[in-house]
Symmetry: C2
Subunit: 407 residues, 2 copies
Amino acid sequence: MPAVYHPLTEEEAVQYVRSRLPGFFFPDAQLFSREIGDGNLNLVFRVLDASTKRSLIVKQALPYARVVGESWPLTLDRARIESEALKIEGELVPGRVPRVYHDDPELALTVMEDCSDHIILRKGLIARKRYPHLAEHMAEFLARTLFFTSDLYLSPEETKARVRQFINPETCKIAEDLAFSHPHYDADTNSFNPLIRRDVEAIWKDDALRREVAVLKERFMTCGQALVHGDLHTGSIMVTEQDTKVIDPEFAYYGPMGFDIGALLANLFLSYASHEGLTEDPDERRSYRRWLLQTAEDVWNGFLERFYRLWDEHVKDAMWSAPGYREGYALRLLQDSAGFAGCKMMRRVIGLAPVADLETIEPLEVRAAAERQALRIGVQLVLRRGQMRRIEDITALVRREGEGECG
Amino acid sequence: MPAVYHPLTEEEAVQYVRSRLPGFFFPDAQLFSREIGDGNLNLVFRVLDASTKRSLIVKQALPYARVVGESWPLTLDRARIESEALKIEGELVPGRVPRVYHDDPELALTVMEDCSDHIILRKGLIARKRYPHLAEHMAEFLARTLFFTSDLYLSPEETKARVRQFINPETCKIAEDLAFSHPHYDADTNSFNPLIRRDVEAIWKDDALRREVAVLKERFMTCGQALVHGDLHTGSIMVTEQDTKVIDPEFAYYGPMGFDIGALLANLFLSYASHEGLTEDPDERRSYRRWLLQTAEDVWNGFLERFYRLWDEHVKDAMWSAPGYREGYALRLLQDSAGFAGCKMMRRVIGLAPVADLETIEPLEVRAAAERQALRIGVQLVLRRGQMRRIEDITALVRREGEGECG
């Protein structure tokens, strides 16, 4: 660890900003600092000048997983990964990520735009809010960040330099364990509603499923297709009615494109399942679920339209231009996305780090019904991913597996 | 380039060895040095004490492709790659690669065991020699180098450190261009027998083929499954009746396992096709071809037997242990190998760097018949790779496509 590293206090965050970003606030401004992090791995300070309302975020990596304590050490390199990924994403999709004002490798911190007028998308979905631009914004984010960081656009030398830059063993290991392994056997880290134990045990015993999850895990570990965000769930997306910002790319690495698309789809489908318990009124539930699946379809279809447009405009390689290769690439991507979505749904029900969408449902019986839907959808997405030809095949599967309990 | 770097002369190679490996030769030994490189990218000095017969090889990378001249610059990092890969391979499969005595990053050179009592396998195959231990040795080399450098054995952190260590953009680019792109359009680098122009043009027009080669190129570029040798043709294998040594891993990188297996199969099949022209006597030809295909089968089956044994002994991961995953992994590997073999066969007929097996056939009409066989086999291996279930399906395909002209 660098000699100067230490976790900042709220007061030190103010001093740091005054000295390193002297132009940001007026010299005589009275600044308020509050640590607002609810994550597991970082300190997050919001520094505010209440009179002008100008504010910024100081995000500092901790050398251990906050949720567990100092017994789970983590390197600080992820602060570099996050800030470098944010800058690349910001150039590729201006406005879709917080602007980086400053970064400091020694203190493992990044000073960035404050998005406190936005809320975490997951909270919005729990509250049955609709976001008319969400699908379009995320389609744009996915198409541009994935296309422009892949071999489809970059020279092979550029891609390999980026692969090296974003080798990220520590956060990848978290995903390898928590998303692709632990949910499939009786691991200590697992934590699930006791009422669904039978369903979970059925998953542990399902050899065909475990085999397919292993194939997806292998793909996660060996396929360096593009710079993926790596943790694109609805807790990493902040929204207003009009705006969308993707935050927290500290899990970024060169991985399969479908891992990001699948993460977003999985979280829309988890929300779908959660409203089994969150929303009593059947009309409201049906209507909101329709919006969720429409959003999933719009994300993929909007992504694909943009991805194809970028392909036609930028792809020069003689081989990538082979007739039909583009369509085959997109199909494999859709099927990858379905598989990764399935893994992530199971993981969020069975494993460590459950999602609030499901966790807040009471009583446990109702929660169990929603969780069973999520598990059924997840299992089928993994097993049937090779049959998916269009996003509508995926949403039909969600609807079908969701019907068992919600009618 | 490091300041001290300069290409050695034969005399300097002697001085270098005397000063850096003082114990290797007697101090008063009279040493003979000869530059014996016939490759494209390096100087190779053999330093010999004629009285004791003790000898060694000094291999030095040139900062340009020797075959083209100084107009094609190359970095010297591949000397590091080669020497680090040789050391890893030597630990995993003792005796199957030359021993590394010394390496020198500044001069981009490696001092290693002299295998001059061996001959290049390709020459042996042209001369219809049989090597009773070749299949077994190569099966062992492939099984151990691929298994022990993959995520099946290494921890994820170790694999990622190795991926970083072997990022090899320059030699990968050569393979990307020469093996996966240029043969599929009218590229300047191509060079082929004018009598097969119609066959080559048919390949250039074959959209389905180009699409499938693009998928394999993508896999070559994005799939970091194991530390592959990267250039495992029969010119990178040296043999005696009893021994086998794999040399020249300067193209090593983290890639798909099937790329190495496919390279070896492709070169056995190229030899198969070449004997259409090299061997007039039909009985001799038939008999030697039978040995070649038997060797291909023995390589794969011997590989698989060892790979499975290593798997059962060493694989601890709960997911990799899922019932049936091992068999599915092997099937995908076989199909990858078939596809990469097909690409390599086409590349050696159409592209830069033809193989002596075919190039030495005279007259051109006879050579064309052999080359057409090689192309047909290559095309079908790529297009039908998904139908291959066992190595015997692959050798049957070779026999079928080879029959068109040889009866």
